[in-house]
Amino acid sequence: MLKPSNPQPPSFLQILRDIVLIGLLLAGLNAVISPADRGWLLQNPTPWLLLPTLIGLRYGVWSGCVSGVLTAGGMVLANIGSGEKDLLVEFADAHAITLVALVLAGFICGEARELSWRKSREWTENGKWLESESKRLRAESQLARQARHQIQERLAMWNAPLACLDDDLRRLIPMPETEVYEGLLRTLYSTCQVTSSAIFRRSGSELLPLASLHTSERFKSPMGLADLPMAVHAIETGELVTLDVAAAESGDAACLAVLPWDAHDTHGVLIIEDMPMSEFTWSVFERVELIVRWTFMLRELRLATAAELRSGGLLPQGDFLALLSRSLETARDHLLPSSSLTLRLADSKSTTFGELVKATSVAAPEICAMTAMPGDAGLVVLLPFAGDAAAEAMAQAVRHSIPDVRAARYTIAGAERPEVIWGRLLQG
């Protein structure tokens, strides 16, 4: 809030100047218009009332009264001329009301001016306070708007790289063998900030390089397994092995972490040579494990499905349940749901089960798993990391080929066991 304003009072000289100027003006007019009637005493009211009235209105009570007294004094002096006592008393008696009225007019106008000035001063101060308050509120609302925008931006971009992880994985799955490893390392770099990493295949007691990204020379050529004790330990335990933070920060160990992987009939290790310490956390390693595990698993599944497709395209129920369980695990640990679709034939006479399988295989996206319901009553399709939209699109595509198919979709998430979900899928 602003301090109350304190305007400067008018100076004495300023008041005197105005009194003299107005007095001279009136005296001049009086001399020109009525030279015989000094002080316009014959006029009622006398125009000389203007002097105390104007001064009182402009400068307040005291100025008004003083100007009234001076006007009355001037009038007396102008009329008595010689200043004899009897004449003075006689004049005062004759024009007492006029003389007093001059002083009273100054007083009343001065008081009126004080009243209005007090009011206007209050309004001015209120106005100033309101103006400053409105400026402050405007600035605050502007700041709040900016902060809200920034926070929304941050919230929107929070975990943005992870939100597209399924898309990255989808790109990795169909890649040829020669490119997938480098693609995987690049995905790890972009989503987990793993700066330098290499992927090796195990061949007996040797590690053969498959791809490397930003690594030193030693991780670009084959190396003995015994040269990297951390890799030996990781393979033995089948678990991720990392350095502890203090050793990773300043130590000169060959690598920071080793993660074993296996795909079909190939085994190996992922070696993380370097990464920023701010990212050296369990949650980042969890993400690394997830990406590596899913990449190899889904590639394997794709190969298996391709092989199965040649002989019918369906997974055994046990394999399907294992994938369902893994999807539930991912949904629980990473809040990344998958979708499932059941497809039943409404009329098994007009369309055979084989035709349904064929139509579904054509409509199926790159990554999905299918299995038959007991008694070939229909199909259950698992779409890993896919939302309802992808499941609906697939159902539409199947309906386009076989109009009388009944499709139902489910989101694979929650704390239920895979067997329970499987039962629900069959019932649905």
């Binding site: 709040a144 902060a147 809200r148 926070i151 929304q152 941050r154 919230l155 690049r186 770099y189 972009s190 700066t195 330098s196 990204l213 930003h214 690594t215 030193s216 004790p229 951390m230 330990h233 335990t237 678990e239 991720l240 092995v241 990392t242 350095l243 502890d244 203090a246 050793a247 990773a248 920060e249 300043s250 130590g251 000169d252 160990a253 040579e273 370097d274 990464m275 920023p276 310490m277 701010s278 369990w282 949650s283 390693f285 969890e286 494990e289 640990d333 809040l335």
Partner: protein
């Protein structure tokens, strides 16, 4: 064998015992010593994670303005999981909260986050003349985090960056074959210090077509304002 020679034999055998122990201790721990620095498995696999709560869709700014007192405790404490430079503005806001507990939490979390970075930076700085490449990388990275505007007043920024610049120069002199991470960290420091020619030279040394090089080239182009102006 006489008693005397038997006694002599036993005594000799006993005198060898400490030697055997010393040898065993000297040989065995070498492997163990290394493994002591290792962590096997990820504890997140077995940890009991907190229950996931439904997300608040109300914007944070509205919650901060609308919630009072102890309701904000959760925020202040939860923010310790974020990088301190990202959480600092909200923590500073919470320090003006009417509830002394929230004020204290916010102050403690902010101070604690800064202290962790500063003590790590100090520790790494002490050994900067002898540390490994990774140590030097960590020093430069932590230094750049501490240079974040939310943590460092602008009046101190110039002196802090020049200190990091000296560290980068030292790293450049010490390591003839710097790792990619170290090259990237040095380039970032030189960019922050507006020594663009040094940064450009370091970026050139990065492996061709590597993601790090692409990323830093873009950052460099932005820093030197050489981005093409696209007319929409």
């Amino acid at each position: 064998m006489s008693d005397h020679s038997m006694q002599l034999l036993i005594l000799s055998a006993l005198s060898l015992v400490p030697l055997v122990i010393v040898l065993a201790l000297g040989l065995a721990p070498r492997g163990q010593e290394k493994m002591r620095n290792w962590r096997v498995g990820n504890p997140l696999h077995t940890a009991v994670l907190p229950v996931v709560r439904p997300a608040f869709l109300e914007p944070l700014v509205s919650q901060l303005r609308g919630m009072h007192g102890s309701e904000m405790n959760g925020y202040a404490v939860g923010l310790r999981h974020l990088p301190v430079e990202a959480a600092a503005p909200v923590l500073r806001y919470l320090q003006h909260c009417a509830d002394p507990a929230v004020e204290l939490y916010a102050q403690t979390v902010l101070q604690g986050g800064k202290d962790v970075l500063q003590s790590l930076c100090g520790r790494l700085q002490e050994s900067s003349a002898t540390c490994s490449q990774r140590g030097m990388c960590a020093l430069l990275e932590v230094g750049l985090r501490l240079a974040h505007p939310a943590l460092l007043p602008s009046s101190e920024k110039a002196s802090w960056i020049s200190r990091m610049e000296a560290n980068a120069e030292q790293a450049l002199a010490r390591f003839s074959q710097p790792s990619v991470r170290l090259l990237a960290a040095m380039a970032r420091v030189f960019m922050a210090a507006r020594r663009l020619e040094h940064a450009a030279a370091l970026i050139q040394r990065l492996p061709a077509n590597s993601p790090v090089k692409q990323e830093l080239s873009q950052a460099f182009a932005f820093a030197s304002r050489q981005l093409p102006v696209l007319d929409s």
